[in-house]
């Protein structure tokens, strides 16, 4: 299957403050469906900036970006939100679970926002995701009562709830001990094998080594 799910051409981004600085320089990138890609590079090389730009959260750039065959450059805030809801799953360095809600509710919220399935169906899917993450038993706990590794697994389950076309991860293991890092590694590997497209920023060499393709960045350019 040689079908690009994400295509970026000639992306440029500038920071104006504290002083004018070009953080991304003429980046062109194509991601195939089912690929597990990691972006590596030193701090400040622009890898996170690139990820936020590719994930449509950052719209302050020049160039063109298409995801799933539709052009997202130039869409308004409302349409971009809808697009992210349906097509992009996010995993960050921190879990960012909503503290007032249970684990199950946290996972269900993006699907309820999408509103394509009934509550029962969403709950069923969410339980299934938890099962896959091996933490079915914490479903009804408040999200704050979980360990760091469990919280990150809940965050992954939440990213997957709408069956997104692409999963974007920013240092998903950056805040975990080695044991939990291993668990998250395995989950990502498993997801890749199941045919999910994953785009992850990391500075963990082991993590990158296990991906399909490594994109290395330096000073705002892709060098490898």
């Amino acid at each position: 299957m040689n079908e690009p799910i994400l295509e970026a051409t000639q992306l440029n981004k500038f920071f104006r403050l504290p002083e004018p600085f070009q953080v991304l320089k003429d980046i062109s990138l194509s991601v195939q469906k089912g690929e597990f890609i990691t972006i590596v590079g030193k701090s400040g090389c622009g890898k996170s900036s690139l990820l936020y730009l590719l994930s449509t959260l950052d719209t302050d750039y020049t160039g063109n970006l298409s995801i799933n065959g539709s052009k997202v450059t130039g869409l308004n805030e409302h349409d971009l939100s809808g697009f992210r809801n349906e097509h992009i799953g996010f995993v960050f360095q921190f879990h960012y679970l909503l503290p007032e809600f249970t684990v199950l509710q946290n996972i269900m919220i993006p699907a309820m926002k999408l509103g394509k399935l009934s509550r029962q169906q969403i709950e069923h899917n969410a339980m299934q995701r938890l099962e896959e993450m091996g933490i079915r038993d914490v479903a009804l706990k408040p999200s704050g009562k979980l360990s760091g590794g469990q919280q990150q697994r809940v965050a992954i389950a939440r990213a997957l709830i709408n069956n997104p076309g692409i999963i974007m991860a920013d240092e998903p293991t950056g805040n975990l001990d080695s044991n939990n890092t291993q668990i998250i590694f395995n989950i990502f590997r498993q997801l890749a094998q199941e045919g999910n497209t994953i785009l992850a920023v990391t500075h963990d060499k082991d993590f990158a080594a296990r991906s399909d393709r490594i994109i290395e960045m330096m000073d705002g350019r892709i060098i490898h």
């Binding site: 996170s48 959260l57 805030e77 960012y96 509103g115």
Partner: protein, 420 residues
């Protein structure tokens, strides 16, 4: 029931910090409760003061004023309007004054046909002296048709002894102001002797005493029948000096006075013109009440604004992740604005209830009794209008206080939060 996801989030967040939400709500509750309480009490006070001050004042008073216009005086007749001559007359005086209304019975029957008129009461009033041994007490004797006078000034409620109707049955009966009766040391059944400035005198039998709660009235006024005064003054039976009118709507007095002045040609005074201090007092108390109440409600609004700002500052990460997951600015606005509105609406309803209870409580507190107060309890007005206004303004304040922080939340840039 499935709540929209925005409201689910909003409700869960609100319930997660019950204490904070409740404190924000307390501000609204007290603001609105005090507004209701103050406005109900102030309106009660206004009504009481107005009732007391107007108790002895008719809505419209028609009488024959002494004219001070002497342009058509004798000089024009003597000098035959010669333009070359200027005549200056110092201190002119009228030759002869008759203060009665010449066509009184016509005016009365005409006024009675008007649908907005409740009572028309004719009056013949004169200065008199009450003989008390060697002392003569100054007083005013009003000759009235007692049935109409009773309706005009609610006399029946003001009788201290005897009944107003006694004037009809007793021969030469008189009703005395309570203060006057006390000074004269007479009670019901005693006789008093009156003398007019012209020197006529007559004896009347006291058939009752009354009190308006105003010493200016109670200490000088006495009622007898219209014919009683006409006899005392040696006038014929249609000699009447004043006509007093009570209206169904007291606020129409000014208009009717103008109509009467034009139609009958006599001086017509409405209660507002003759007592401007009543209106002024009402205005001052109303202004004070509204200023204090609106300040309270605005302060309550600032309470909500503060708390929502704090909440949003502590929820930046949640807002960022919600935005990343597909909630747009409008959703975020909804989530936080709805929290403020729930606080506002519940606070407003609770405030109305508390305000009603406080007002009701006050209306059951006995008013300190004196000889001249007719009020048993503190005066409180219950008017649904103020409840609607309080609720409406309370919700408006909450909306404004909620929309500002919520807009700030809606504009959060998720990248800035998630990257840090």
């Amino acid at each position: 029931m499935t709540l929209p996801v925005n409201l689910l989030i909003s409700g869960t967040q609100l319930l997660a910090r019950k204490r904070q939400s409740f404190i924000a709500m307390l501000g609204v509750i007290f603001g609105i409760a005090m507004f209701i309480f103050m406005i109900s009490f102030m309106k009660g006070v206004n009504n009481y003061i107005q009732d007391t001050m107007l108790s002895a004042i008719p809505d419209v008073h028609i009488y024959n004023d002494i004219r001070t216009d002497y342009t058509s005086s004798v000089t024009s007749i003597w000098l035959r309007n010669d333009p070359d001559k200027v005549v200056v007359v110092h201190h002119p005086r009228p030759e002869k004054v008759r203060l009665n209304l010449k066509n009184a019975s016509l005016i009365i029957s005409d006024l009675k046909t008007r649908s907005d008129v409740e009572v028309v009461s004719p009056l013949l009033s004169t200065q008199v002296f009450f003989n008390y041994g060697p002392v003569q007490l100054n007083g005013v004797l009003d000759g009235v048709n007692i049935l109409e006078e009773a309706r005009l000034f609610s006399l029946r409620e003001r009788m201290m002894t005897g009944r107003a109707e006694n004037l009809l049955t007793a021969d030469k009966g008189i009703l005395l102001g309570q203060g006057l009766a006390d000074k004269l040391n007479v009670v019901r059944g005693d006789q008093v002797t009156l003398a007019t400035p012209a020197g006529n005198s007559m004896r009347f039998r006291v058939v009752g005493t009354f009190s308006f709660g105003l010493s200016t009235v109670d200490n000088i006024k006495a009622y007898v029948s219209l014919s009683g005064v006409q006899q005392l003054l040696a006038k014929d039976h249609d000699y009447i000096t004043d006509i007093r009118v009570k209206l169904k709507d007291i606020n129409m007095a000014r208009d009717l006075a103008v109509v009467c002045r034009k139609k009958y040609g006599y001086k017509s005074e409405d209660w507002e013109s003759s007592n401007p201090s009543i209106k002024a007092g009402n205005l001052i108390r109303d202004t004070l009440t509204w200023v204090v109440s609106l300040t309270l409600l605005t302060v309550a609004g600032f309470g909500i604004y503060n708390i929502m700002n704090m909440v949003i500052s502590s929820k930046m990460k949640d807002i960022a992740i919600l935005k990343a997951q597909g909630f747009d600015g409008k959703d975020i606005l909804m989530i936080f604005l709805s929290q403020s509105l729930v606080i506002g609406i519940l606070g407003a309803l609770a405030g109305l209830l508390l305000g009603f209870l406080l007002s009701y409580g006050l209306s059951r507190v006995p008013f300190p009794q004196t000889e001249f107060t007719f009020m048993k309890f503190f005066p409180v007005v219950f008017d649904i209008k103020y409840y609607f206004f309080g609720a409406g303004f309370g919700m408006l304040t909450t909306f404004v206080a909620g929309v500002l922080p919520a807009r700030k939340a809606a504009r959060v840039d998720p990248v800035a939060i998630l990257r840090s």
